[in-house]
Symmetry: C2
């Protein structure tokens, strides 16, 4: 019985551990890599090792950073009265790209899910509460997802902060800009209708 | 203006060079890697470097191998009268998996495309002709694709070997096993009809 060379087999196996990369795609990627310029393989491997060694979590917002405190947390041009809570570090970029937000961020690291053992202490909720108690945060924007877990996490944080003067807001939900009405899913349509605003 | 940490940016850039991986997917993969077990990043990087350093082209069939002559070419249990010509090294596995073929392989390395500067000498066509002249190959199976370039490459090889006693065959084209007729594309249907066989 024929089997691929071990080094090829191992590469396919490692690539197929990536999300949304199945075995067939992994094989295609592996063959693409070994059929092309071999120096490029080294570039890719080095960029992975470099990322592994250099990237850390910012000790203030838990975003991804190359230094103890990230570029955003270190900025003096931002509005310290605004704090935006997101699930994952990758959720920061869309805010920054929109250019609409000039406050700071706080990465929870997930959402509450008691059945999976994810409690407030598993996430950075105690650190968040402490930060709001200590600092002059006027508005906390809860930019979490729309899964039941994310909704209840937002609710939990809202309650934990009920006695503090910090206002809690969440992102508007509705029809995405540029979308055709006929392609909007039912739940989004319901929310867009329920939360309609005056013209 | 905010920009991601350089090590993260570089990783996204390298990942997005992979085929069918756009910038958004590359970002998702990068965040998956740095959010998970960091040791796994090392495993992936090492598997890439290992593949880069160990994998070579077999000097006999031009397939992927860890030794000068690959496992298939070294086998003494195969039928040396059969030679199957494929475009890429990755085309060998489906044959091996089918279990139907017990001959040897020859990887062309592409198909002829004069406009892109791909001539017979750019591929391994001279080496193929030489091998057939020297060795006792009774049947050459031209298992190339169905693009116009692949078809004309098969035709070119067929003509180059016209004076040799080696029979040239190609794979049957038709309805894939298990397919519903209503989902078959027009060209496949045409070929399946034209090349119909007696029951």
């Amino acid at each position: 019985m024929y089997s691929s060379p071990p080094a090829l087999e191992k590469l396919v196996q490692e690539l197929s551990k990536l999300p949304s990369i199945g075995r067939k795609t992994a094989r295609r990627l592996a063959f693409h890599l070994i059929s092309g310029d071999r120096e490029k393989m080294e570039d890719l491997a080095n960029s992975i090792l470099n990322a592994k060694n250099r990237l850390v979590h910012c000790t203030r917002c838990y975003g991804i950073s190359e230094s103890e405190i990230c570029q955003i947390c270190e900025s003096t041009h931002r509005d310290s009265e605004l704090l935006c809570v997101v699930e994952r570090a990758s959720d920061i970029l869309p805010f920054e790209n929109s250019g609409a937000y000039k406050g700071f961020y706080f990465v929870l690291g997930g959402v509450l899910s008691p059945l999976d053992g994810i409690k407030p202490e598993t996430l950075h909720i105690p650190e968040l509460v402490e930060r709001i108690e200590k600092e002059n945060v006027k508005e906390l924007i809860l930019a979490l997802g729309s899964s039941p877990e994310a909704e209840s996490t937002a609710l939990y944080i809202d309650r934990r902060l009920a006695n503090l003067p910090c206002k809690r807001t969440k992102l508007a939900r509705g029809i995405p800009v540029g979308s055709e009405l006929e392609f909007i899913d039912d739940v989004t349509m319901l929310r867009a209708f329920e939360e309609r605003v005056r013209v």
